[in-house]
């Protein structure tokens, strides 16, 4: 059998098609990934001409309680951790409930699906400035509506309740749509077979729905953990890190250190430590899902 003539012609054809993307990929993904490591090994002040090599000093400083960055960095890591622990469970569980409701047949189903998804198409800046005003402790509509006097944006634990609540409100529909697609992928016959075997609604949920959704649930959990670790806009616009620096997340601090104070070596080192922490969390997450099978 002879191959079609085109396949033999032009070894450069793949290069022709690939080169525009590969150029961008190299410049803005591959080079920065290596460059970042290089920077993190230097005292890299953007404004100074000399950028001396310091080995692992930037990393060591993060683990040295006497260094000026130690407390700030770990406070910000703790903030990101608290936010992740607080927001991932509701964002994994609640959207499943919404998806189960949307998976039933009723009039206006498409409309409701769109409504729940709606906040997600708005940017974090819109969401942030809107909730900042809604949750204002003195003038805010939320306190007025419920007759409360809660310092939503200025005190703990309320600042966390606000940031997590806002994020759930904002991204719930995104996760629900992913779950919904997963639910629709479970073969109808499995439910019928379970019913024939005498399984009730709850048993069908536990023995058919949940196992069928496992791959989708792993995806939702992973994406939500990644998004939580990236949290920035909500805290910047709603709490501004208050009270003190309690809600200043790791990304906020890294951006401050590297792009405002221009200590880029130190900031790059922090990025890699945060990335490493995220890898550890993801591995644990995968393990948990696997052990449940």
């Amino acid at each position: 059998m002879t191959a079609p003539p085109v396949r033999r012609r032009g070894r450069l054809t793949p290069l022709f098609f690939l080169s525009p993307y590969l150029l961008l990929f190299c410049l803005f993904v591959a080079v920065p990934a290596v460059y970042g490591l290089y920077i993190s090994l230097h005292e890299w002040d953007y404004l100074l001409p000399g950028k001396p090599f310091v080995g692992l000093d930037n990393y060591a400083a993060l683990f040295d309680p006497d260094s000026p960055v130690h407390d700030n960095f770990w406070t910000s890591m703790k903030a990101t951790g608290v936010f992740t622990l607080g927001s991932v469970p509701p964002l994994v569980v609640l959207p499943l409930g919404v998806a189960m409701i949307l998976n039933r047949r009723f009039p206006g189903r498409t409309f409701f699906r769109a409504v729940f998804f709606l906040p997600f198409v708005l940017g974090v800046a819109v969401i942030g400035v809107m909730w900042r005003i809604l949750l204002d402790p003195n003038l805010g509509f939320v306190n007025h509506l419920f007759g409360l006097d809660i310092p939503w944006t200025t005190d703990l634990p309320w600042a966390w309740v606000s940031l997590i609540g806002i994020t759930v409100w904002w991204t719930l529909g995104f996760n629900a749509v992913i779950y919904l697609a997963g639910l629709q992928d479970i073969p109808r016959e499995l439910y019928d077979a379970a019913s024939v075997d005498g399984a009730g609604a709850w048993q069908r949920f536990v023995h058919v729905t949940l196992p069928g959704l496992r791959p989708v649930a792993v995806f939702v959990t992973t994406v939500t953990i990644l998004a939580s670790a990236n949290m920035f806009g909500q805290a910047l616009l709603v709490t501004q890190g208050a009270p003190g620096i309690e809600t200043r997340t790791a990304i906020m601090y890294i951006a401050q250190e590297g792009l405002v104070d221009y200590r880029m070596g130190s900031a790059a080192a922090m990025s890699y430590v945060l990335t490493l922490a995220l890898i550890v969390v993801s591995v644990i997450n995968f393990r948990i899902f696997r052990s449940r099978s």
Binding site: F16, F25, P119, V121, V129, L139, L180, L274
Partner: protein, 275 residues
Amino acid sequence: MKTLKASAWYVMLVGFAAIVIVPLLWMLLTSLKTNVEATRIPPTFVPEEWSTGAYRTLAEGTSETPVLRWFLNSMVAATGQTVLVLVVASTAAYALARLEFRGRGLLFGIIVGTLLVPSFTLLIPNFLVVDQLGWLDSPWALIVPGAASAFGVFFLRQFFLSLPPELEEAATLEGANHLQIFLRIVLPLARPALATLAVLTFLSNWNEFIWPIYVLFSPDQFTLPPGLSILQGAYTIDYPVIMAGAVLASVPVLVLFVIAQRYVIEGVSRSGLKG
């Protein structure tokens, strides 16, 4: 009993929907209040006195808050990146789906692997790369680096693989080369996937917040999301002006969502099924 249960579901559903809609409605209504009314205690929901003053303030703008300019900048950046992504992602995806060359699997693996690299990891070095290119404080910083995302390549490759190869084989036998096949057969067939990718790219670029804050410096270059943060600082308790800015930043993406809802939701759904 059955109808009672069904109506309980419905009430819950409507309740949830209200939680989503009411804050957004409040945002719109507040943008149409006078400043005095917006900061009054107790607050109102529906304006007692309707006012377009906030929008007029935005339209006039100041040298620190040229809001219409931000709107234009946002449009240019989001449109520019969408076009760029469509070109580079579709060509690369075609090569990875249909051309045979050594190291194809490895290359695809590396590209897709970067989907798991959190964006903040590259924030600092990317800032320096953009600086080296002389793109700081310019639209290029908003358009080009983000187009290196692996999502579009991954998404389109999967779609191209799902296309039946017969049409392409027939064209090959008639002597068409790969560029002709790509342009005349594959791209027209991939129109729904291209539309989905275009909408998702536009949305995410339009909403981009952290990157423009740090790569843009002059008020004239800002886009709407960092602009909102400036408005929040400049108009502290002039709530109608801040909310009018938020409405302005929402309208284009809401319109796009309403028109292209099917593409957005299907695009998101499909990304999950592959995970």
